[in-house]
Symmetry: C2
Subunit: 439 residues, 2 copies
């Protein structure tokens, strides 16, 4: 039997063993989705802590259903390990590691490279490998394939198959989870595509095949570039609107009544999370190799880079109206999660604003019901404070940086001396009054 | 009785007389919508030809229902005139004149100014005036109001009322016409808002009030800036994708499977029509008065300005593969309308590409089933040709510039020597083959 037929047979009989590299926001829900469907999954991670948590079914990802997680660990379908030599036990490997940007805004490919090396050193012939990490188009073919071929001595499309299938995890989304979000599949060659579709079908309800890994890579970048560009646009328009005595939130609600051709984006202190601030810049990076300038992404990046300073200025101007300088004032930030009602502060714009305000000599404190401590880019650590009436009344300025739905806005506004509202939390104020200033 | 109560009574009894200034794509459908609802409408236009056409119920706007048009003219509810002194017969005036950009991309306010002067010289006390022309925020309050007050000697909010209500006409849209597209209403002051809502309610199904004319002005700009920015983004990504051997249309279809947070835009030879290429630049213009640079709009404008040259280059590169220069080649353009299945070539990007190709010495001809002649920006006039097999086979290159659904793409491709497809008309070709080249 050929390797191809062998793995297809294992998939159809659900005797396939799936290895998932990286047990974070993407990998753990995917591992649970396969295991839930009676497929044996081995989770690989370099972190002892994560591996231990999985094996004790201690859930650390908000979007994973704890009951299902508990069940698949208990019945042995999902186990985790730091021992990457166990890759040889797997028939299919799915890479779900991060791809951060380095200090110079260039893609840090070290996690993908390390995963490829671990796979190349340990895999058996006939292994299917899928990459889910967001990265620049051509990564699967031009970056990944040579590393694996060179290290393993095996041949792509003969001894192993490659695929790119972008993760579409949206933390906190109540409706769309791993299993019911349509998944784009870009196998390298027909055999890889066939195996990919059969395998993912086990865990994901709807698959959408495209002609190549690079097309699939571009899909994810397009989705998030669209978001970056539109958030940056509305942030820029919000800043102008403030100067023109126009309430941008009112304008957006009115524009939404157009029944076609419009999608609403909302302004805020900047873009956050682990996708939108990063993904478009992978594309900008690879475009340079084609002597091509992506001017829209570049401009959006410029707007976003300036937002923390502009927000610091807003806070400074508001304090100035009350004849107070930033230096020596106490500023309380409400919400450090990068979006409402989640516990994730990765790339949160709130942190960048806090950093700038602290740099100007203000005492910075924060409250977030979902996040008890945060560390900013300079390694400075903050511990969240309780939101008492006394505290609200004592600080010089309260800043809404995340609109968690649990915030009692009326109470906060009534107790505070000064409010800077970067999220339209205070609906009843049009643009500003003596106490409340909006972005 | 106060002027306010007087006009409200006339509206409720439908004895109000509505004057509409400008009988084009916006004004004529609106005039018909009021007249259809048993309100007397006088249409004003400087063009004898248009006025005559209306009075003979010769329809010249694709989106107007000819039967309804005929009916309202026959029963005398809609008449048209070039005599602007008849403005004094009207209780409410709605301005639907164009606001083009001049050669230096600055708003040409002369049509609005002229309408304001005609109104100021002729209106009676107690007149309601609404502007629908897209323009920069603050126009109604800062540009229009002083002109009317100064010329008429009357006072806004006492002797007359002002409102801004943006037109949302989308030529060729089968589902959303004037009457069933929600309409944003921004009266200046509470009385103006009350009168505006009561009046427009006669003709429009759903109204959405906002707090000021400037908010309403910003709504329309936001809607079209969103479109400009996203079309420019996808055009830039399309150009990069071509270099990276990625089919951008395949990528867009795949991205559309994301069930939230994405709206698809499609690449093409540039942006066209009477809104998207213009509206955002009104805002860029007024922003300069606030010392504010709108970098996203500026960048989008740059991409769009370059598109005709880039498309000319595409055509030149395609001919070059067949060892032909542009100079002396015959290039047949298919479609000069700015979007599919309409008869409107205003600001059509096809014309700009044709102009560039002609400038390089090619013989340019075109076919469009909806448009028999066009004139480019330099006043050069083209007459459409018939699309015979013989013609297709005889030209050096066929270019798809508009994807009219009636084009028999297979036939055209089979007969042509060379095809440059700027609209994804040729679905079965991935990126290019020997004969077909895609954007």
């Amino acid at each position: 039997m050929s390797y191809r037929d062998d793995i297809l047979k294992k998939i159809s009989s659900k005797t396939v063993v799936v290895g998932i590299l990286g047990l974070g926001y993407v990998g753990l829900p995917l591992a649970v989705a396969f295991a839930k469907n009676k497929v044996k999954v081995i989770g690989f991670d370099k972190s002892d802590k994560k591996v231990e948590a999985v094996n004790m079914s201690n859930n650390y990802i908000q979007d994973v259903d704890p009951a299902v997680f508990n069940e698949v660990v208990k019945n042995g379908l999902l186990t985790a390990t730091t021992d990457f030599t166990r890759i040889k036990e797997c028939d299919a490997l799915i890479i779900c590691v991060p791809t951060p940007l380095d200090k110079f805004q260039e893609p840090d490919m070290s996690y993908i490279e390390s995963a490829c090396l671990d796979i190349a050193k340990n895999m058996k012939r006939g292994t299917f490998i899928s990459l889910e990490s967001t990265t620049y188009p051509t990564t699967t073919e031009v970056f990944m394939k040579p590393i694996i071929e060179k290290t393993s001595g095996l041949k792509e499309n003969i001894d192993f198959w490659l695929c790119f299938s972008p993760e579409r995890v949206d933390p906190g989304n109540k409706q769309y989870k791993t299993e019911n979000t349509p998944k784009v599949i870009g196998g390298l060659g027909q055999d890889a595509q066939k195996i990919a579709l059969e395998l993912y079908k086990i865990a994901i309800k709807q698959l959408y095949p495209v002609s190549s890994p690079r097309a699939a890579e571009m899909v994810k970048i397009l989705e998030n570039t669209y978001r970056l560009v539109n958030i940056s646009l509305i942030n820029e328009l919000a800043l102008l609107s403030g100067k023109m005595d126009i309430n941008i939130w009112e304008v957006i609600e009115a524009a939404k009544t157009k029944p076609y051709g419009f999608q609403a984006f909302y302004p805020g202190p900047g873009i956050g999370g682990h996708c939108i601030p990063l993904d478009p810049f992978y594309l900008e990076y690879v475009a340079k190799g084609f002597n091509f300038d992506l001017t829209m992404i570049h401009t959006a990046g410029q707007i976003n880079n300036l937002m923390p300073y502009r927000m610091m200025n807003k806070i400074s101007y508001a304090l100035n109206r009350q004849k107070k300088p930033l230096n020596g004032s106490t500023v309380l930030f409400l919400g450090v999660a990068y979006k409402p009602d989640i516990d994730d502060s990765r790339e949160s714009p709130a942190l960048l604003v806090m950093e700038q305000v602290a740099r100007k000599g203000a005492k910075v404190i924060y409250h977030d019901p979902y996040i008890s401590t945060v560390v900013d880019d300079n390694g400075h650590s903050y511990k969240g404070v309780d939101l008492t009436d006394e505290l609200i009344g004592s600080v010089d300025c309260v800043v809404f940086t995340t609109n968690h739905s649990c915030f009692d806005v009326d109470r906060i506004v009534s107790k505070a001396k000064l409010v800077v509202d970067l999220r339209n939390a205070v609906k009843q104020v049009h643009i500003e009054n003596d106490k409340v200033f909006k972005l």
